[in-house]
Amino acid sequence: MTELERALTSLDVDWPVTPAFDLRRPARRRAWAVALAAALLALGVAFAVPQSRAALLRVLHVGGVTVERVQTLPAAQERPLASTLGMRVSAAEAEALLGRPFGVQARLYRSGDVVSALLRGPVVLSELRTGVGTMILKKLVGTGTTVRYVRADGAPGVWITGAPHVVLAPELPPRLVGNVLVWVRGAITYRLEGKALTLDAAQDLAGLVRDR
């Protein structure tokens, strides 16, 4: 070992203290739940304090989206994504609804206060402004559907995958939907939906959706 190598080895670096980790059947960090709850509380959205992770996933409010686990799903049909978007709106009308421009340049649609665009995939990107107490979209998931915490573009969110779940949206009949990523950034709740959507693809897309 040279003198320089010895000098490098002798550097007494002030490393941050190693935190405690969950080692027995490790699960994704509980801090995610805390971070998500903090983000939602900051938005003034009700959030049930979890007694356990299972309890947390029974009813979950993610911005303007509520995810509820149920034993039996209500009757619902799968519909083509293009038929679920609502009526056409201009970019200016969408901006008035959201308080800022929509995250991507595309043909925009509106259903209630939800603004959506159909992207290649096909994938639907929806945005909704998260107001105090607002609960705009409700998702009912059965036992075959997995709901887990993820990060989307650095923000806390949830990934819903597995068996199709039912979404209840304003002005639209209940419908069966596939994989969905929901995340909250600032005052906007974002949602990506696609039957063949993967988490990696959804997270990549989330990185492209920015304030314009």
Binding site: T2, L4, E5, A7, L8, T9, S10, L11, D12, V13, D14, W15, P16, T18, P19, F21, D22, L23, R24, R25, P26, A27, R28, R29, A31, W32, R151, D153, G154, G207
Partner: protein
């Protein structure tokens, strides 16, 4: 129980065995993640998520292989995923010296660390892994996702460059 036996027990679903397998490597895992992400919070998340992946991947772990490079590779991948969006670069600091510096001390630790920070990213990474974290060439290769031969050549070039900056 040695590492091989602990891994086998963990593969059979033994949670305590899994904890015993990874616990000795947590400090170096967290520091490696910190070096890559530049953030203690991101490093913590990266290691926790890496532990989840390691637990799930245990079934594919090859019997008799050392755990540390395998775990460090998973940790480094998780850390890099977080780093891509942040664009941060770590700046290490020296622990405050308990004793005042000796006049005429042969090694200027602060100057050496500054020179290390001034290196290109690849060079800084390989020297940090090898000398500050004390990783072997194999472990460094796993952490940086390069071939062991690349670690050797990159280390040699990085030391030459560091010598130029430090002298």
């Amino acid at each position: 129980m040695d590492e091989v036996a602990l891994v086998a027990a963990a593969q059979r679903g033994g949670e305590d065995a899994f904890a015993a397998v990874v616990r000795p490597h947590l400090d170096v895992s967290f520091r490696l993640a910190y070096v890559i992400t530049g953030s203690a919070a991101d490093a913590e998340d990266a290691v926790q998520d890496a532990l989840v992946k390691a637990w799930r991947a245990l079934g594919r772990f090859r019997e008799g292989e050392p755990v540390r490079p395998w775990l460090l590779r998973i940790v480094a991948n998780e850390a890099r995923n977080r780093r891509r969006s942040s664009g941060r670069r770590v700046r290490l600091a020296l622990r405050a010296a308990a004793e005042p510096p000796v006049v005429g001390e042969a090694v200027d630790h602060r100057g050496l660390l500054e020179a290390l920070h001034a290196l290109p990213e690849d060079a800084q990474a390989v020297l940090t892994c090898r000398y500050l974290l004390g990783l072997s060439e194999r472990e460094t290769a796993a952490a940086l996702d390069v071939a062991p031969g690349t670690v050797k050549s990159r280390t040699s070039r990085a030391l030459d460059r560091l010598r130029e900056l430090y002298d």
